[in-house]
């Protein structure tokens, strides 16, 4: 079976690189084709890369607290670009400050993300969910 492609990166002016490296490593080990855009990625770069590589999913990370500003309209932007079937996941420290996760999750769902992960999530959870959503069997 052909490997599914996942585009990953850290959005906005965010330079937190460590989690991004580990996500690449983990997706790769799990059998995905990973396109890692690294840190400081704009919405446009995510979408262009997804189109170009015919990606099945985009994993957006935001650690530095300004994700709320950076991710605004991400879902709509993807749709406009014709990315209707691409899964959008987002994770990291998605808002400024320690807060209940439920309202944060809702906020990002509203922005068009399919799945939202709380601070310090195990990336393997994300990979499991991805396999489930893509109906990939182990």
């Amino acid at each position: 079976m052909e490997k599914s492609t996942v585009v990953i990166g850290v959005i906005g002016a965010d330079v937190h690189a460590v989690g991004n490296r580990i996500i690449e490593f983990a997706l790769d080990h799990a059998g995905f084709n990973v396109v890692n855009l690294g840190v400081m990625v704009s919405q446009k770069e995510f979408v262009d890369a997804a189109i170009e590589t015919n990606a099945k999913a985009i994993f957006v990370s935001s650690l530095y607290g300004q994700g709320e500003l950076d991710c605004r309209g991400f879902g709509d932007y993807c749709k406009e670009a014709g990315l209707n079937n691409v899964l959008l996941y987002v994770g990291g420290n998605l808002v400024i400050g320690k807060s209940d996760f439920e309202p944060v999750k809702e906020k990002y769902i509203t922005m068009g993300f399919d799945r939202v992960y709380p601070p310090g999530s195990d990336i393997n959870q994300g990979i499991e969910d991805l396999k489930h959503d893509l109906e990939i069997m182990d």
Partner: protein, 481 residues
Amino acid sequence: MINQKMPLVEFLALRQEVLNQWITGKEVNLEEAVAYQKTIKADKRFSAKLKQAALDKVTLVQPRAGVALPNDLKKLLKTLQDEGGADLLPTTIDSYTRHNRYIEAQTGIDESIRIGKSLLNGFPAVNHGVSVCRDVVEYLDVPVQVRHGTPDARLLAEITLAGGFTSFEGGGISYNIPYGKNNSLEKTITDWQYVDRLVGYYEERGITINREPFGPLTGTLVPPCISHSVAILESLLAAQQGCKCITVGYGQCGNQIQDIAAIKTLEKLSKMYLNRFGYKDVRITTVFHQWMGGFPQDEAKAYAVIAWGAATAVLSGATKVIVKSPHEAFGVPTAEANSNGLKATKQLTAMLKDQVAIESPMIVEEMNIIEAETNCIIEAVLKLGNNDFGLSALRGFEAGLIDVPFAPAQCNANKALPARDNNGAVRFLDFGNLPFDETLKAFHRQKLKERAETERRDVSFQMVIDDIYAVSKGQLVGRPR
């Protein structure tokens, strides 16, 4: 990049360009700024307070903190001062300003006003301008420093120094490598020569501004020799432009022997190299950063990590310690959580200040290792750059002679890989192009072999990953489950 103190005319010419980068640049009048800085008394100046602390052999405590709006910032910093007992205060700058994206910063300010909550992860000082900065600084009783992560901080420096801040963090290397992706090292070093020259200008006029290269870099398993090398190069670069008061920094690795040895060698080596190049009147102090990597989510556990950092800071003899909060794993702390980190730290800086630090041959041995490693790097780098500090840094990074683990910057080689040894000290698993001699390499290999044997697995990248998660999962060495 130049290899001399920037001539005054050149500097003044360049200033006009810098001040035009954003509207608030116009507010800066250097003569008036010098006069204003002269009105700031010693107890509100970084330089004086650090000098006194070094004399008294105490460790000062300083938090990180910044929010979008001036009044909120004042309230926040006042709480940290009065409740938390901070000896020194920060103003952390937001990430848009750090990338000179002043338009987005403005959106952040406007939005924050609209919804009544800070949407920026720091204080956009450039957008707010000189007089707002002064208003903030005047409101407080202790010295205030600019802390950021800005590759091109020229305008930020102009505005905040005219705004009454008495210390400025960063450097052309330490605010490039961990804080950017595509920034040319040549450009960031040049831009920071400007910042240092500005500080040098104040110095010429009798105003000492404290400069602090950012020690912890990526905060993630950075071996002491790497951060020491950056600190030394940035100190030389700063001294060359006329800075006289420099605080070199280090981020806690977690093994007490290595951490104590690191602070001791950091001070010693910085002074040695400054002396060697004739900068004998530069005053060096040290800053110890509590654990800069991933934190445990549980607050009780976070307190333990904070306290361990506080204890090691004092016992290493650092002049100040930068404090984390029990919210670290989640997000920018509330004033209360931030104060709690300060209070926990202060309890130990005070309780331990009278204790004689343990002297031990084990610390001396570790110091020898760090010195040998750092000397290997610095000598190789200076040779490559013909003792031109900027050029040396540039070529050193190009050649991978200095290599910062997990850095996002493309100008960093990213070949060297760190991992902990069996006792938790951070060593190299892969040297990349680090110019270590064979004795040193054999030492590192031996250390990792010991660990591999204990864990009955091969030395591999999995160890590195396990080490990255370890502290947040309540370990130091990332043992296999």
